[in-house]
Amino acid sequence: MSKKKRKLPALNASSMADISFLLLTFFLLVSSMDTDSGLARRLPPPPQDEDHQQTVDVQRRNLLVVLVNSKDETMVTSQVETEWYQNENELLGKGSKVSLKDKVKEFVLNTNNNPLLPELMEEDFGAPIGTVPVTGDHVISLQNDATTSYKTYISVQNELVKAYNELRQEAARKYFNMDYENLTEDQKNQINKLYPQRISEAEPKNFMGGN
């Protein structure tokens, strides 16, 4: 009898699960797993000498100029043609106009070796791509007005990136018979070398009534 009294009474731990579930739900709700995401870009290094701003000479045929003005209209001009987009729907090709994305793809590919589009150069990209002609020197110059809205600027940027992503996806299907996202790091680098993003963001100028 006395022996039994000295024994520690067992702690009732049945509510422990409830308490820990409560804590768990609290942290589940509080923890913000939201990772930031966005369009990655690389800025050019600052000019070494303020007075001698280096200018890179680009042949006119290698240049696709995308202008966004103060009224958020977009103009895309190559040596072949010039197209105006009044609003975002036209930019996406929802109207009767060819979308900016397709314009960019046509410009980067230059499948028909048009002398007014960027010059094609044979280059070796390693197996299994081999030596293929690419427009290695093309440049897409994105210029904006000081009063262009950030929203439009981003949607234009987005279209440019989308064009490259689609080209890369097509190349991945063609050469590796796989989706781009399933490729290994090395294979991705190969494809990226095939279609490097050559977007230049110029300093803003005043176009059409911007102040």
């Binding site: 509080v30 995401s37 966005g38 369009l39 690389r42 009063t147």
Partner: protein, 141 residues
Amino acid sequence: MPELNTSSMPDLVFAILFFFMVTTTMRSEELMVRLKLPTATEIQKLEKKSLVTYINIGPAMDPKYGTGTQMQLNDKFAQVEDIQDYIAQEKSSLNEADQQLMTVSIKADEDTRMRYISDVKQALRKAYALKISYSARKSEN
């Protein structure tokens, strides 16, 4: 019917609990500008959070600071000229190998004028923070 032994249940739950406690990062900075991020489809996730520096741009939440575009670095409003010091300070807090990998995430309100963004971009160039990301929300089409 044999009863299920649930005595290991608290241990399991505690294990999950500790996982969440360790991974969760309490939001340390309070947003002082109104941000409605633009939408985009081709966005990429920013990989390592510790390498990302944020610049928030938008109209101030508190009307006493005016209605114009303001920039928030850490917990206070700043001018474009302050960016270089801010970047240098953030850079020095990283170890040398990671300094090149530092990414600056520009979180700007979609109604911001490009003039402001361009000024910020020029300042970032001068500060040699060349890896940037235009923060955006995922949109459907």
